[in-house]
């Protein structure tokens, strides 16, 4: 049973098509919902939650039909919205406990659970302060705790790292990795930051202008783009370029003559570079994968169909 199964979902706001025949079925512990601003990510999340009704299409979340069982779905989902999502005057602890009670937890259980979740997201004594005094990072932590407090099966995080300083961002991404690898809920992470998805997710849905451009395992997406490696030689080695080309690799000199960026053919590994270097008599002093494979795959996915 896929975690999310959508077929032909359309949603229009006036003249704007927010979701355009969205259809995919994905599974996984952490799903990245990736796309530029205005791609329809937040609308898709709201449609999954039943906060917005789609104009047409079929939606199944955790095997439940969104049209017939919206309340049951919301009971199994946690949601950390991108907006403020807070009640001024309440402390962080009260906010999280209230979120638990709204999901049906008893007051005592909700309070205990709120403490657990605030420990998990790393909000210490500040939990007793009113939420309007919080920094952006604290707000994000509280929102994540509110999304987790009732122990959902799938937690939807809408741009949770936006506005965070690098340290807080790192901690939040660590938390998502922890949830993915531990016994916690599955995560649907909406973001436009490729690095966040690359670091935390095993599955990715790429959206652009309300359409889904890719949905599936992250590894499969990365495999669609050539495996790129940076090769530094002791001296400029034009013979290495020829040797690599003979093996089907595409090598191009970078800014420095002794550095090559090599796109390996499908299925080939770095041993191909070593073999070519041996043949060309080039001394390779550094060989490393080029970061940004997801970026290339992402750009490739959203550039399709002349978009």
């Amino acid at each position: 049973m896929p975690l999310l199964n959508l077929q032909g979902v359309n949603k229009r706001y006036g003249g704007t098509k927010a979701l355009d025949a969205v259809g995919f079925a994905v599974d996984g512990r952490a799903i990245g919902l990736l796309g530029p601003n205005g791609a329809g990510k937040t609308t898709l999340m709201k449609v999954l939650l039943g906060l917005e009704a789609p104009d047409s299409g079929a939606i199944q979340v955790l095997g439940l039909d969104a049209r017939t069982a919206p309340t049951a779905i919301r009971g199994k989902l946690g949601y950390a919205a991108e907006g403020p999502g807070r009640l001024p005057g309440l402390s962080g602890l009260e906010s999280v406990a209230l979120a638990g009670e709204l999901c049906g937890l008893r007051r005592r259980v909700a309070l205990l659970r709120a403490h657990d979740m605030l420990d998990l997201v790393g909000l210490d004594e500040a939990r007793y302060r009113p939420v309007e005094t919080y920094s952006t990072g604290m707000h994000q932590r509280v929102k994540v705790a509110m999304a987790l407090v009732h122990d959902p099966e799938l937690v939807l995080l809408d741009e949770p790292t936006s506005g965070l300083d690098p340290e807080s961002r790192d901690e939040l991404l660590d938390l998502i990795v922890h949830l993915r690898s531990g016994g916690g809920p599955a995560v649907l992470l909406s973001t436009h930051l490729l690095h966040d998805v690359e670091r935390t997710c095993d599955t990715v849905v790429i959206m652009r202008r309300g359409q889904v451009r890719y949905a599936g395992p992250l590894a499969a997406l990365q495999a669609q783009t050539p495996d790129r490696w940076a090769v530094r030689t002791a001296r400029p080695a034009p013979a290495l370029v020829t040797a690599l080309a003979a093996r089907g690799a595409d090598a191009a000199a970078a800014d420095q003559a002794e550095v090559l960026e090599v796109a390996l053919p499908q299925g080939a590994g770095p041993e191909l570079v070593w073999a070519a270097a041996a043949e060309a008599g080039a001394a390779v002093v550094h060989l490393a994968p080029v970061a940004g494979n997801l970026e290339a795959a992402f750009l490739g996915a959203i550039a399709e169909e002349g978009a």
Binding site: L90, L105, D116, D119, G182
Partner: protein
């Protein structure tokens, strides 16, 4: 010293979820209101009104008991001097209606308006909460205030009256509970529905509160003036005058005593209590309608 926080990791929760989600909404509304000084001040005023009427009820019955033991109270004019319990209860409901409106202007004005302003609808409706549960939760939170300031104290006043009344009056006062509580409950319903309904139309608690109190006062003043200047039908537009009419009718308040003239709150009433009752129901319906309209508009679900 900074606390050291040691997360134990994520634990699954195997817990039944039996709580009706309207209650935490109501409690949160009251908790937030209680943190405002204006709420406590308003409640103090309500307590003062209760105290004055308590002294009135107790005083007249103690006086009645005393004079009954001495001579014929009617001959001594005791009724004329201190009034009747009917009158004291009617005065209490009418006066406390206004003071409770002041408290509700602080407590309930932000019930929906603040949720709109801070974008909290998502916070609520991303959870397994229905629109009806949300509305009932807000109404319950706001409704607890007039229950505590109007209905509860009216019951206490009646209880005190029935308890210390001389035997000759006890039988009559015993049956006064129903009209007293009915009129107080009607006032509470009107106040709750109109305050929450107005909150559903606004977007800032302070503005809604100010408009609510000013609206009640201006409406009462203008319609009172018009009704007494030859346009009696305008009297039915004021919830305060309507309530006064219904209360006097239900409690069968007689001629005004000296005590009732000292404590303000017994001005003229509308001629048709049924018309006033319909007027009150219309105000209640308007408040509930505004609430339903707002929730329907803000939370669009398939």
């Amino acid at each position: 010293m900074r606390d050291e926080v040691h997360a134990v990791g994520y634990r699954r929760l195997d817990e039944p979820r039996p709580v009706w989600p309207g209650w935490p909404i109501a409690r949160t509304l009251l908790v937030l209101a209680w943190r405002r000084r204006a709420t406590k001040l308003g409640l103090l005023v309500c307590f003062g009104v209760f105290g004055v009427h308590g002294v009135w009820v107790v005083g007249q019955l103690v006086a009645k008991r005393y004079f009954e033991s001495k001579a014929n109270s009617a001959l001594l004019g005791t009724d004329k001097l201190v009034g009747q319990v009917h009158e004291a209860l009617a005065s209490y409901v009418s006066v406390q209606f206004f003071t409770t409106a002041l408290v509700l202007a602080v407590v309930a004005a932000g019930a929906i308006a603040e949720d709109r302003r801070v974008g909290a609808f998502e916070l609520y409706f991303a959870r397994p909460l229905s629109r009806m549960q949300y509305a009932l939760g807000k109404l319950l939170g706001a409704g607890i205030v007039p229950l505590a300031t109007l209905v509860g104290p009216a019951f206490i006043l009646w209880l005190a009256a029935a308890g210390i009344a001389p035997p000759s009056l006890r039988g009559e006062l015993w049956w006064l509970a129903v009209p007293a509580l009915a009129s107080a409950t009607l006032g509470a319903a009107v106040l709750t529905a109109t305050s929450v309904g107005l909150s559903a139309l606004g977007q800032r608690a302070r503005t809604v509160g100010a408009v609510y109190v000013a609206g009640l006062v201006i409406l009462a003043g203008v319609t009172e003036g018009l009704a007494e200047s030859g346009y009696p039908s305008f009297g039915y537009l004021s919830p305060e005058r309507d309530l006064r009419t219904v209360v006097d009718w239900l409690l069968q308040v007689g001629n005004q005593s000296v005590a009732a003239k000292i404590i303000p709150g017994r001005p003229p009433t509308n001629s048709d209590p049924i018309g006033s009752l319909l007027g009150l129901l219309a105000w209640t319906g308007a408040g509930l309608g505004a609430l339903a309209w707002r929730i329907q508009r803000e939370v669009r679900r398939g």
